[in-house]
Symmetry: C3
Amino acid sequence: MKSHTEYLTFNLPDRMGFLNITPQVEEVLRRSGIREGLVLANAMHITASVFINDDEPGLHHDYARWLERLAPFDPSPTTYHHNRTGEDNADAHMKRQVMGREVVVAVTNGTLDFGPWEQIFYGEFDGRRPKRVLIKVIGE
Amino acid sequence: MKSHTEYLTFNLPDRMGFLNITPQVEEVLRRSGIREGLVLANAMHITASVFINDDEPGLHHDYARWLERLAPFDPSPTTYHHNRTGEDNADAHMKRQVMGREVVVAVTNGTLDFGPWEQIFYGEFDGRRPKRVLIKVIGE
Amino acid sequence: MKSHTEYLTFNLPDRMGFLNITPQVEEVLRRSGIREGLVLANAMHITASVFINDDEPGLHHDYARWLERLAPFDPSPTTYHHNRTGEDNADAHMKRQVMGREVVVAVTNGTLDFGPWEQIFYGEFDGRRPKRVLIKVIGE
C-alpha cells in the first residue's frame, strides 16, 4: 500500500464562502501516482468544511442563507455560551457540522471516481484568515 | 492491497424516498473477496445520500417530514436562487447535506462490521430517474 | 496492508452528552503499530455520533440546545411516527444525522494528523446505557 499526504492552505475574503478545490485535489492525486484506492480530504479547522456538491453560484447563495437560518451568527455572549470565551464563532461550529468535515472519494484508474456533477468544495464559516485542508491518498 | 469497485443504479418512484441497500452492498463485498479493510458507499448524484440508520418505516416518515421542515421544496425562483437556473431541486441539495453523501464501513472477517441496528440506505431527494451509487472495497 | 480493529464501550449518564475520546483512539492507533494510513471511528448505534470539533464546554452546551431546537425530544406517538413502535427516541435518530455517524482521520508518521483544535467526540442522544464505538486502522 502506498500513501501520499499534502496540505493545502486557503484564505477566503469573507466570513462565509465556498471554493471549488477539485483541481487542487486532482493535482495531489496525480502527484501521488496512486491508481486504485481512496482519497481523504478534510478541513483541519473546526469552523470549516470539505463537502461535495454542485458548482452553481445560485446554490451557494442558497446554502449561505439556509445555514444562516439554521445557525444564525450572533457574537453576543447571551445566545451562545461558546461566545463567552471571547470567541464570536459558535454559529460557525454548527454550520460546519451540517456541511461536514471531510469527504472520502474513490480513486479508480487514476482519477477521482465522480458522478457527472460532483465537485469538491472548501466551505468556510469563519474566514479572513489562512486555514488548512489535508489530502491523503492511499492505495496502489 | 486489493480493491474492487461496482456501481449500483436506483430509480425511486417518488421525489423523496429511502431504500435499504445493505443486501446489495453485502453482495459487492462478497464478490470482492476482501476480508479486512474498508467499504466506501457514496451517492454519485448531488441530490441523493447514502447513510446508515434504522430500517423502520415510521422513522423514514419522520425523516421525510423533518427534512421538509428544515429545507422545504419550493420550485419558485424567488425562494432559492438555484431554481433560477431552470432547476426546481435546490431543497434536495440541502436535504442531501443533512443526511450526508457517503458512509465508510469497516470490513472485519469478511463482513460489514455493524452494530445491531445499522443498515445502509439510499436516500433520494429528487427522484423518478435512475441514479448511481458507487461501492468501493479496499483491503486484503 | 495491515489492519487493526477495536471496540470501545461508553455509557453516558444523561440522555444527551459529548465525550472526548481522542485519548482512546490514540491508544488504539499506538497498539496497531500503523504509521501511515487511515483510522475509521464510528458509532455502532444509530442514536449516537462520532464527530470532530472543539473541546469547549460552552460549545457543547450550545450544540445540545441547537440540536434540541432542530429536532425536539417528544415521546408522544403523534409527533414522530417512530415513537408509535414503543420507542421514544425518534429525535435522537435526527440529532445523530446532523452530527454524523463516523469520522475518517489520516494517520501520518504514527499519529492522528490533526489541525490545532481537532478532537474526536462521542455524541450521545439516547444515553444511560452502554453503547459501542468501532475503531479500525488500516495502513502500513
